[in-house]
Amino acid sequence: MIWMQQKKNYLSMILTIAALVSIWALVDYLTSGRPPILSGYYKLNIILLCINIILAVSLNLINGFTGQFSIGHAGFMAVGAYLSAVFTQKIMIVETIAAVTGLDPTGDVARTAGLLIAVFIGAMAAAVVGVVIGMPTLRLRGDYLAIATLGMGEIIRGLVLNIEYVGGAAGMSGITQLSSWTTVFILTIISVVVIKNFINSTHGRACISIRENEIAAETMGINTTKYKVLAFSIGAFFAGLAGALHAHYFYTIQPGTFNFLKSFDILVMVVLGGMGSLTGSIIAAILLTFLSAALQDLAALRMVIYALLLILIMIFRPQGLMGNKELSFATFGSLFGKKSSTGGGEQRDGSQSN
């Protein structure tokens, strides 16, 4: 049956892949000429957009799908950013790889391999921190959990601030720019696909059942603690990954980069897109990244707009742009009269419940 459904979705899949390849080629063409057609400023925002997508989608797994309200996502980002930077700047992973394999340390292969290793280590560390923090705190409910995760994010920031090895309050600067458009784009796609595949499986449904009714889930045989911690640590993993990519594109990281305002930034994306909709998170990440680029010089105004967005969405459209529906080419198909295939976890109706 799944195969039948997958055949139905074949066209949608091919279209999606074609669209992604075109986006990659287009951005690559626009940003890699000498001089590039789009200036570095645009490229920087496009990279930022990808990082924001990873952050929003991974936070949505925790907040939207599993129903565990976390507002400490920037803390995990910090873990990934700092640890990966330690690996490239202090442990000299790129040079080590070059020395072991005989590759050119300034060549793309060694640089990309070094980046991937550093990113993976940063993400894993964030996931481990997620497990360590998740085990005790995920017993808390709703607003208590929110506060605990906020506190956790601030503790991570406070600790980084006090470690001289990683620069203390000044942070680390001069980080080699190892992230490129291609690596960032591919890792973004991988992140979204991994989270999407997780959600649309029995394990993802186990997480969603916790959001829907924790007591019923537990008595129906779902080990709710295990799945909360799992969702939390997968979310933390990708936040760490995003942090690592961030560190290796923007040269500098400081403890202040990862304060709870950053966590709120990500939260706004998830809430605007719809808690429980991955495509919603992606759309919201795009909208808000453009908005903040447009308001580059008006930081306070940007935050006021974010604030009003949060308030107005909650009062007038608490399900956000997408509720818990997903957008795909199959949805577009159904708009033109074809009957859409309702897949396992897709196109659910209704608003989020808490």
Binding site: M220, I222, G344
Partner: protein
């Protein structure tokens, strides 16, 4: 064979004894009723059996295993499933997903297989869909499989909850007022379904009901609870004529009738 053996089960909340010194024994294949007036502690007993509450005193032995310190999901894995008096469906999910979630603990594909979409994932998810639809068919819900659970009419929500409990493939099924809010026709139909699934799946069933006549009709043995204590137990005819029961429970009902 004894499926469930409850000895001296007691639960206090603060100073209040909600359940006091209850002994219950249920054998394989039985359909047993647990009745009593409102607030007698019936649902508390279900919560104690399923591990939602920890007993203050006493033991629950299920299929030879003491369930003390087991979490609800572990009790479920041993083979106990339940429904709730105040229906607890996964409201925003489809009917099919509700049932698939209950089948989760029998799934063989892991997280990695799911993320990488390995063949074991495809096979596992396909099997889940088939099983879930089979359970929906029993309760005449298969053509509603893509509906959102909360949009179902009340009677169908109750039936879905039972289908979901069955999908966990329990050996003992606990039903908490399954017919609450149903009309007489629906109730009759439901009771037939319950009898049928017991035969088909070789189930043992413990049923809480408020409606005496209904329990009398379907259960082979009945326990009567009042103020947290068992005041009687026996065959329906014995219960019907037990003066204590009449005083505590029927008396009240008759007076209201």
């Amino acid at each position: 064979m004894t499926v469930l053996k409850v000895t001296n089960l007691t639960k206090t909340f603060g100073g209040l004894k909600a359940v006091s010194d209850v002994n219950i024994e249920i054998n394989q294949g039985e359909l047993v009723g647990l009745i009593g007036p409102n607030g007698a502690g019936k649902t508390t007993i279900f919560n104690l059996l399923t591990g939602v509450y920890e007993p203050t005193v006493g033991e629950v032995v299920f299929l030879g295993k003491n369930t003390r310190n087991l979490k609800p999901y572990e009790v479920n894995h041993l083979g106990m499933a339940r429904t709730f008096q105040n229906i607890r469906l996964f409201n925003d999910l489809t009917v099919l997903d509700n049932v698939k979630i209950a089948y989760h603990s029998h799934a063989k594909h892991g997280v990695v297989s799911s993320i990488l979409r390995l063949p074991s994932f495809v096979k596992g998810e396909e099997e889940m869909i088939h099983k879930a639809i089979d359970f929906l068919k029993i309760f005449k819900l298969e053509n509603k499989k893509d509906e959102i659970a909360k949009n179902l009419p009340y009677g169908e929500q109750r039936r879905l909850e039972i289908a979901r409990a069955l999908a966990a493939q329990p050996k003992l099924l606990l039903l908490d007022e399954p017919a609450a809010g149903m009309n007489p026709n629906e109730t009759k139909e439901l009771m037939e379904m319950i009898r049928w699934v017991r035969e088909k799946f070789n189930l043992t069933i413990l049923l809480i009901e408020h409606d005496m006549s209904l329990v009398m009709g379907v259960c082979e043995r009945i326990y009567v609870l009042d103020y947290g204590q068992l005041i009687a137990h026996g065959k329906p005819e014995e219960i019907k004529n037990n003066p204590k029961v009449i005083e505590a429970y029927l008396g009240e009902e008759v007076a209201h009738a």
